[in-house]
């Protein structure tokens, strides 16, 4: 596979944006400024970005409760996301969705989803739209290791295989579903194999390595766009933080997270390749870093200061007409 340097820099920008966004959210949650529940994506940046760099605004993704990374990777505006997370009137969902329900159809983002296994059938429907309208668009569902056990996911695999839909199952195996590890909850211990059993190409990727994900998803997307039906990729990358902010993580061995930070940092790994193989200067990356840190600083301040939805908003948007 060949890599466009512009694409690579954009990928870096998005991965960095996810990292800084989530680290900032973490601090904000600890300070108690963020309403609702927040599930952080740190450590998994290469999955969302490696996958979404193949997608257009007219391609769709279905997301999970751990959705910030998917949103940023798919190009949802960071300021609008922050306004939403803070439940403000100008949020991307007018402040009524919050962290677990960010959606932006204009970017092909079909919504975070607080129901484990809720989004895959919906993404399948977006793939059906593409097929019905005869476009070469695709849809992708992000699916956790825990979610991979839900019946809705198996149904989605079969449904899209039978209808030969342009659908990509993007499994995020981060080792844990809440406080239980894949060593226990995953019969057969091989998610990709399950997808393959429903009749589609399925490969595994290193979710810490942008290039590994990018390559595998690239093949899946080519397959799907060409009208050959669905494909699946299972990427492995531990999350760095708790299931949600506040989780004591008693299920993790001592020092696991420190080790991950040292040895499994997708940004460090990506940067090393960018510098060594693509002649991209570290200084250029530092500039991006700073821009992003500044942007997030700004947008968090804006979000915090922004007006809440009016009380009327409680009653609106239930129906289009009633």
């Amino acid at each position: 596979m060949s890599y466009d340097p512009v694409m690579l820099l954009e990928a870096y920008r998005r991965m960095r944006a996810i990292r800084e966004f989530e680290e900032r959210m973490r601090r904000e949650v600890q300070m108690g400024t963020v309403p609702g529940f927040v599930h952080l994506y740190c450590g998994m940046e290469a999955i969302a970005v490696g996958a979404c760099m193949h997608l257009r605004d007219t391609d769709y993704i279905g997301s999970t409760h751990r959705g910030h990374g998917h949103c940023i990777a798919k190009g949802v505006d960071i300021g609008a996301m922050l306004l939403e997370i803070y439940c403000k009137a100008d949020g991307v969902c007018k402040g009524k969705g919050g962290s677990m329900h960010i959606a932006d159809l204009s970017k092909g983002m079909l919504g975070a989803n607080a129901i484990v296994g809720g989004a895959p059938p919906i993404a399948v429907g977006a793939a059906l739209t593409h097929k019905t309208l005869g476009t070469d668009g695709v849809a992708m569902a992000f699916i956790g290791d825990g979610a991979s056990n839900q019946g809705t996911v198996a149904e989605s695999l079969n449904f899209s295989a039978v209808l030969k839909l342009p659908m990509i199952f993007m499994y995020e195996n981060n080792g844990y579903a809440e406080f239980t590890g894949t060593g226990y909850h995953l019969g057969g211990a091989d998610i990709a194999k399950r997808a393959a059993a429903f009749g589609m190409p399925a490969e595994k990727a290193d979710g810490v390595d942008f290039f590994s994900v990018y390559d595998a998803v690239g093949r899946a997307v080519v397959h799907a766009r060409a009208g050959n039906g669905p494909a699946a990729v299972e990427a492995f990358a531990y999350r760095w933080y708790g299931h949600f902010e506040g989780d004591m993580q008693k299920y993790r061995g001592a020092g696991e997270v420190d080790r991950l930070r040292e040895t499994a940092d997708p940004l460090v790994k990506f940067e090393a390749r960018l510098v060594s193989d693509f002649d991209i200067g570290a200084d250029e990356l530092r500039e991006i870093d700073e821009e992003i840190i500044e942007l997030i600083e700004d947008k968090v301040a804006v979000a915090k200061a922004a007006p809440k939805p009016s009380n009327d908003a409680l009653y609106t948007d239930v129906y289009g007409s009633y």
Binding site: Y60, G62, G91, V92, C93, K94, G95, K96, G97, H101, A103, D104, L105, L110, G111, N113, A114, I115, G118, P120, P121, I122, A123, V124, G125, A126, A127, L128, T129, H130, K131, T132, L133, A139, G151, T152, E155, S156, N158, F159, V162, L163, T316, D317, V318, Y319, G320, S321, Y322
Partner: protein
Amino acid sequence: MAIKTYREALSDALAQEMRRDPTVIILGEDVVGGLGGTAGEDEAAGGTFGVTAGFAAEFGRRRVIDTPITESAIVGAANGAALTGLRPVAEVMFMDFMGVCLDQMLNQMAKFRYMFGGKCDVPVVIRTLMGAGFGAGPQHSQNLYAMLTAIPGLKVALPSSPADAKGLLATAIRDNDPVIFCEHKLLYGETGEVPDGEYLVPFGKANITRSGTDVTLVAFSRMVLLANKVADKLAREGISVEVIDPRTTSPLDRDAILASVGKTGRLVVLDESDPYCGMASEITALAATEAFSSLKAAPAKITPPHTPVPSTPHLEQLWLPSLERIENTIRATVGKRAA
């Protein structure tokens, strides 16, 4: 106008809307049938009850889509398609099967618009068969529309006549909100005048099928037929029953019901679903809270008992509200006993 069956009226509406709008698609189990068998790919079913017979031939299999037996995927796919530009009409063969796909109704389609701050339309229709009296047993005979009526974001339609079947289904398809369209299996063979050409019945607008002054009888779906019969019989005896068919439970035409109760001062509600937390209780509560001072007598509910629908034929008949029971309840409510 022509005389048509309820089934034909449903087909009419579907075909009308599919001709009109290329984004309307149909998906469900055996809506065409025959794929993957040994007889070639000809239509083998056309819907379990024949409503979509001939559709694949006219609209093509790309728009009339057979699915595996996976209702969560069917309804979920309809949801995703609706968010992204299609107007899917998905079939959940029997309403009882909402057990295996409720999440896509309760937590997904119903809430998208709200969760997403109004920035989407969700033009999905779920057609589903309900009702007892068909010998289909406890897992294929339920009337579960009250559960759905209580879910904000959903609309619920219950056509009781061929004309309404056509007009409400066309409206459902054009509606930008999710609609659960509940067809009663015992109504499929019922006939009635159905307007030709484009025909739409608005949601939230009750049909007063009999005008009357002594008592308001609100009935839903197939029960409207029983209500009309009893009203006609009692009319000959000088008891004037106003029969109201709300046609949609969400939105509900509260004004029509309250106006009628205001006029008659008496209310009986006839509903084929469970006695508890159903439309019979809802309408009764509506009248009690909003038209209390008009009420001249205690309102009455007529429903099946709080039991599953038995497979046993004579017990199933006993389970259903009977003409006799309706008549007696109305007589008791208006204070006139049988002569």
